[in-house]
């Protein structure tokens, strides 16, 4: 786990972060930050969960090959974000997760968000983007088998991932702007970002439709050929 080499301390921290540190931060935030507590709590939860996931990945012994392949997929995601309008990022993350596992999926999603925001603008939303894309990867990795078997399921998941991604990011915007969570404001924000939502969902659908088979074949081939 990040920076800490002592194994016992690692284990203590692994349990302490979700069960002690997070509640403590939530309570402290609610006391100190008054009306901004929703924002603070959501931010702390997002940042800590990203850290926890990454710490888990750091602990695990991943093969060198898998690590390099993850880096390549991350680079593809970043390059893909430069394509105007249709972004293949989510599709690439999902495919990576399906063939290289949940951890690789999370790492690709989180790192793609962190790195590409150096070109597209860093902000407090980076933590949420990292979590959102990382979780999409994690979930796609967890349901790799059914996704590989059924193309319809894969495409539906892609559509859903686009919709959920946009709606989660809207929650964050509303929390940042308003006092607490205003449902009316949230609905207005969803309506305002509807074009984006549709664009995300459609581009996920299209890229999964185009890429799933060739991408899958190539990754599968590499897996069989080199035993990744």
């Amino acid at each position: 786990m990040l920076m800490i080499r002592n194994r016992m301390l690692q284990n203590v921290l692994r349990w302490a972060i979700p069960f002690v540190l997070l509640p403590a931060l939530v309570i402290a935030g609610a006391v100190i930050f008054g009306e901004r507590r929703h924002l603070f709590i959501s931010f702390a939860a997002a940042a800590l969960s990203v850290l926890l996931f990454l710490a888990g990945i750091e602990r695990k012994k991943t093969g060198t090959r898998r690590l390099v392949l993850t880096a390549i997929m991350t680079a593809l995601c970043i390059a893909g974000r430069f394509i105007p309008l249709c972004k293949p990022v989510t599709a690439v993350i999902m495919l990576t997760a399906m063939y290289l596992g949940s951890e690789a999926g999370f790492l690709t999603g989180a790192m793609a968000a962190l790195l590409s925001n150096f070109y597209f603008g860093q902000g407090p939303w980076t933590a949420f983007q990292m979590l959102a894309w990382g979780l999409i990867g994690w979930i796609a990795g967890a349901m790799a088998e059914p996704l590989k078997r059924s193309r319809a399921l894969l495409l539906c998941t892609g559509l859903l991932a686009g919709v959920l991604y946009s709606m989660i990011m809207d929650v964050w915007t509303v929390l940042w702007y308003g006092e607490g969570f205003d449902l009316q404001l949230y609905l207005a924000k969803i309506l305002a970002s509807l074009p984006h939502l549709v664009l995300y969902a459609v581009s996920n659908f299209l890229f999964l439709f185009w890429l799933a088979k060739p991408f899958g074949e190539k990754l599968e081939r590499i897996r069989i050929k080199y035993g990744v």
Binding site: I32, L39, L54, G63, T64, R65, L67, Q122, Y177
Partner: protein
């Protein structure tokens, strides 16, 4: 000579997270204004503003400020009634301060990304987690490498007469070739890394950044100011609804505001100190 940006990246990261975190999570009008002033000053100091993005930000600012009165109807001072809904002064004031706060955070982050170049990010990440830093640095390399290789493949395809700009199928074929190449190349890279002993021992890291006296000073100053600000935040009193009131009466509140002011001005003070020193050196010669 060491400007603010020449300090240790870890110190810069701590500083920026502290200053923008307080700006983001505290809605006290005074804190927001201090933060906005400091952020704009720092932006001005480091390269100024591009006209186009400034105009965009200004438009966003006005839009966000005017948005709140349309959705929130609390507050006692009714300005006018729109579609049977009262538009109140308090809601407008809240909107203005909310958008000030967002603008301040945006400016802080813009300065942050301007100062924290990618080598500094790698340094900070590598300190936290060597594996992540490795993935990050390889991903950055592959972004450039994939671009170069894509160009090469396109040229080869053109020479074979298989590539036309306007055909989507050709673009997809180039992408497919690129992907195969990248994956194979990745395996070769990984094997080469393994052959040279990656993963055997603890991973060390080369970094050009050292922890110097100025870094310790800056770090302790920013931590101290942050702690003082946070300690006094509870004493800061204000409300937007039903009536807009701001009062700073207890010593703790004043102390909190002053320490936040110092925190916000740390970069400017560092730069000013260096400028004065430089001036002194010049006049001696």
């Amino acid at each position: 000579m060491r400007g603010f940006s020449d300090h240790n990246p870890a110190v810069l990261t701590v500083y920026f997270f502290a200053v923008s975190g307080i700006a983001m999570f505290c809605m006290h009008p005074a804190v927001t204004l201090i933060s906005l002033a400091g952020a704009l000053l720092l932006c001005l100091l480091h390269g100024g503003f591009a006209l186009k993005s400034s105009l965009f930000t200004l438009g966003l600012f006005v839009l966000l400020a005017l948005l709140n009165p349309l959705f929130s109807h609390s507050g006692v001072t009714v300005l006018f009634v729109l579609n049977h809904n009262p538009v109140t002064l308090e809601a407008l004031i809240y909107g203005v301060f909310a958008s000030c706060s967002m603008l301040a955070v945006l400016c802080w982050f813009r300065s942050f990304s301007r100062l924290m170049t990618r080598d500094k990010l790698l340094y900070v990440c590598g300190r936290l987690s060597p594996k992540l830093a490795l993935v990050l640095s390889m991903a950055m390399r592959y972004v450039a490498l994939l671009g170069t290789q894509a160009k090469k493949i396109t040229q080869a395809q053109k020479a074979l007469g298989l590539y036309r700009e306007d055909r989507l199928r050709d673009h997809l074929r180039v992408f497919s070739i690129l992907l195969t190449w990248a994956l194979e190349n990745g395996i070769i890279t990984a094997d080469s890394m393994a052959a040279r002993g990656y993963g055997i021992g603890k991973r060390t890291q080369f970094a050009i950044f050292r922890f110097r006296r100025g870094d310790v000073l800056l770090l302790s100053l920013s931590l101290l100011c942050t702690a003082l600000t946070l300690a006094g935040l509870g004493a800061l009193d204000h409300s937007f609804y039903p009536r807009f009131t701001v009062s700073v009466h207890s010593p703790a509140a004043v102390c909190s505001l002053i320490s936040y002011g110092i925190l916000v001005l740390l970069p400017v003070m560092t730069e000013a100190k260096e400028a004065i020193r430089w001036h002194c050196f010049l006049s001696k010669m």
